[in-house]
């Protein structure tokens, strides 16, 4: 790919962050972050550096990397649904070796800690990715356990806590960095999955990946997406993700990274209060590429409004213990 990028002044949306009066730092299982805001895997790339100051982010997260190259799913890969989007991109990947050679550098140059998301269709594949990335200079790994486990019938890896534990323990053993585990949305059993990840040595759990969904074109009697089903993300899933974050935070002592539908500083506050130590922003960046920087810029005012000097003082402060009842 020979793309010459013309050097031109950077276009930005209005708000640029100023010196924070409040302490925005959070500590994510051995990883010190300047603030709790990072992108969600697959919803960020170095391309965004043209559109916003990316060095203000707490961390950056790569798209999920597999061991070998993959083409991704058939088109259409994306459509819009009510207050959300449905995607079945299917995680195309250059493969881990090529990513280390030509992909990682772009993220490393951004000036924020780099979290590399890794995937696999078998236990061995996850481990191979971890091996390939050993010593590559990233700050942490995020194990995407929402991939189907082809060795055990194709169900999502983390619906099988034993299989997930094996994967995670192996990745932890191969890594000198903290290891995050990104769970899929398990409405009934998220606590068990989080526990299994913690027991296997995870430094934190990310809750959660997109929610499996379907859109149908009735005239063509076909799914809207080439792959059939896909993952729902965006504001529509926020209340679902928020409950899962709260449940996971009740279940484990390691930090929880909240993800799902976040698009404002107020949303960040909801997730922190419910138990998240940091947050990831995915879908919202598509319509507002500079949003994450704006959220970071608003965090000091948010802390002031909510009466805390340290943003971290919001974490897990929900006073009424939500009950689960019919």
């Amino acid at each position: 790919m020979t793309t010459r990028i013309v050097d031109a002044p950077r276009g930005r949306e209005p708000a640029t962050p100023s010196r924070p009066p409040a302490d925005l730092r959070v500590e994510l299982g051995g990883l010190a972050l300047a603030n709790p805001v990072m992108p969600a895997s697959g919803c960020f790339g170095p391309e965004l550096a043209d559109l916003m100051p990316v060095d203000v982010l707490g961390a950056v997260v790569t798209k999920t990397v597999f061991a070998t190259a993959r083409p991704g799913n058939r088109t259409h890969r994306i459509t819009e649904v009510s207050h959300g989007m449905l995607n079945s991109v299917g995680i195309p990947s250059q493969g881990a070796a090529e990513f280390r050679r030509s992909g990682l550098g772009g993220y490393a140059a951004l000036g924020a800690p780099v979290v590399v998301s890794i995937g696999g269709l078998s236990t061995a594949e996850y481990w191979r990715v971890a091996d390939e990335l050993a010593g590559a200079g990233h700050a942490a790994l995020e194990v995407n356990v929402s991939c189907p486990n082809l060795e055990r019938g194709g169900a999502t890896l983390d619906t099988d806590p034993r299989a997930m534990s094996e994967v995670v323990a192996g990745v932890v053993a191969r890594s000198s960095t903290p290891v995050l585990v990104k769970l899929s949305p398990q409405l009934q059993t998220i606590g068990d999955a989080a526990k299994a990840a913690a027991d296997a040595g995870a430094s934190a759990v990310t809750v959660c990946n997109s929610f499996p969904g379907l859109a149908v074109n009735p005239a063509r009697r076909e799914p809207e997406l080439g792959n059939g089903t896909g993952g729902v993300s965006g504001p529509a899933v926020k209340p679902l993700a928020l409950r899962l974050v709260w449940l996971a935070a009740q279940a484990v002592d390691i930090p929880v990274v909240g993800c799902g539908g976040i698009r404002s500083a107020a949303d960040v506050a909801e997730f922190l209060v419910a138990g998240a130590t940091a947050v990831q922003v995915g879908t919202a960046t598509f319509a507002q590429p500079a949003l994450m920087a704006r959220i970071v810029a608003e965090l000091p005012a948010l802390a002031a409004r909510l009466g805390v000097d340290r943003l971290a003082d919001l974490i897990a402060t929900l006073t009424t213990r939500p009950k689960e009842q019919p």
Binding site: M1, T2, T3, R4, I5, V6, D7, A8, R10, G11, R12, E13, P14, G42, C43, F44, G45, P46, E47, L48, D50, L51, M52, K63, T68, A69, R70, P71, G72, R74, T75, H76, R77, I78, T79, E80, H83, G84, M85, N87, V89, P92, G226, G234, P235, T283, A284, T285, F286, A287, Q288, P289, A290
Partner: protein
């Protein structure tokens, strides 16, 4: 939506995009099917190359979640304004049609790879259908003050669904309309007409957009005239920048992904 298999990635510069909250200057119907949106963006107006696009989203909490890709219909660097023309088809374009002058939209652009006009090209033929024509009007804008001659065949269901004729004519292009309504838009008829018109002095470049049938015709004509052909294609998009991988131009080859329409396109070389 996904283009034909034989797409080649063009080379050339891609200006750095900007993201702005741009003031809407005009938002009005253009015909029964299309609307015009004019917004102020000196940066995009200045940087945009012919055939590039923007991602557009109304500024509303309750509106669509994804921005919508729209070709740059015309841009005026001196005035600092950009025009897009679009058809209202679903929720996103309906929301866009509700934005009034004076309000703002979030715009990211210019995006993608536009049409590449070769240094030695003397004649260009544009083959466009419906709203696809909007992707090619900027080519005529760029060539208006050059010796390169532009001819255009604009196809549509009926007269009212053909747009861009005025803009193209203002850029001194030679415009022919063909419609389903008057029976002139069938591929054999168009082919015949183009052979007659251009066999003697054929164009060096054929650019097309908006129809798979016209794309195949463009490839045939290119072969006949030893011209090169380029096509602008569409794909569902989320980021427009190349990182979400939502817009692959096809299904890939087993391990490698097809080119990304937003980053490697939307204009591709048509292998003939």
């Amino acid at each position: 939506m996904s283009g034909p298999a034989a797409l080649g990635v063009l080379e050339g510069e891609r200006p750095v995009p900007a993201c702005e909250r741009a003031e809407v200057l005009v938002s009005r119907p253009l015909s029964d099917r299309y609307r015009l949106l004019r917004f102020r963006s000196p940066v995009i107006a200045e940087r945009a190359r012919a055939g590039q696009f923007v991602m557009l989203a109304p500024v509303t909490e309750s509106g669509p979640v994804l921005p919508r890709p729209m070709a740059i219909y015309t841009r005026d660097a001196a005035a600092g304004v950009v025009d897009i023309v679009y058809g209202v088809v679903g929720a996103g374009t309906t929301a866009l049609s509700a934005v009034a002058a004076g309000e703002t939209v979030v715009v990211t652009g210019p995006l993608g790879r536009g049409f590449a006009i070769h240094d030695d090209t003397e004649r260009v033929l544009l083959l466009g259908r419906g709203v696809g024509i909007c992707a090619m009007t900027t080519v005529a804008q760029d060539l208006a003050d050059t010796p390169v001659r532009v001819a255009a065949v604009l196809s549509g269901r009926h007269d009212a669904s053909i747009i861009g004729a005025d803009v193209l004519r203002a850029c001194r292009a030679d415009v022919r309309r063909v419609t389903d309504a008057d029976g002139t838009s069938g591929v054999p008829a168009v082919r015949e007409r183009l052979h007659r018109a251009f066999d003697v002095d054929p164009p060096q470049q054929i650019l097309t957009s908006g129809s798979e049938r016209l794309t195949r015709l463009a490839a045939q004509l290119a072969a006949r005239w030893r011209a090169t052909a380029q096509v602008s294609i569409e794909a569902h998009m989320a980021c427009g920048l190349g990182y979400c991988h939502g817009c692959a131009a096809g299904d890939g080859d087993g391990t490698r992904e097809a080119p990304l329409v937003c980053r490697d396109g939307p204009v591709f070389r048509l292998r003939t």
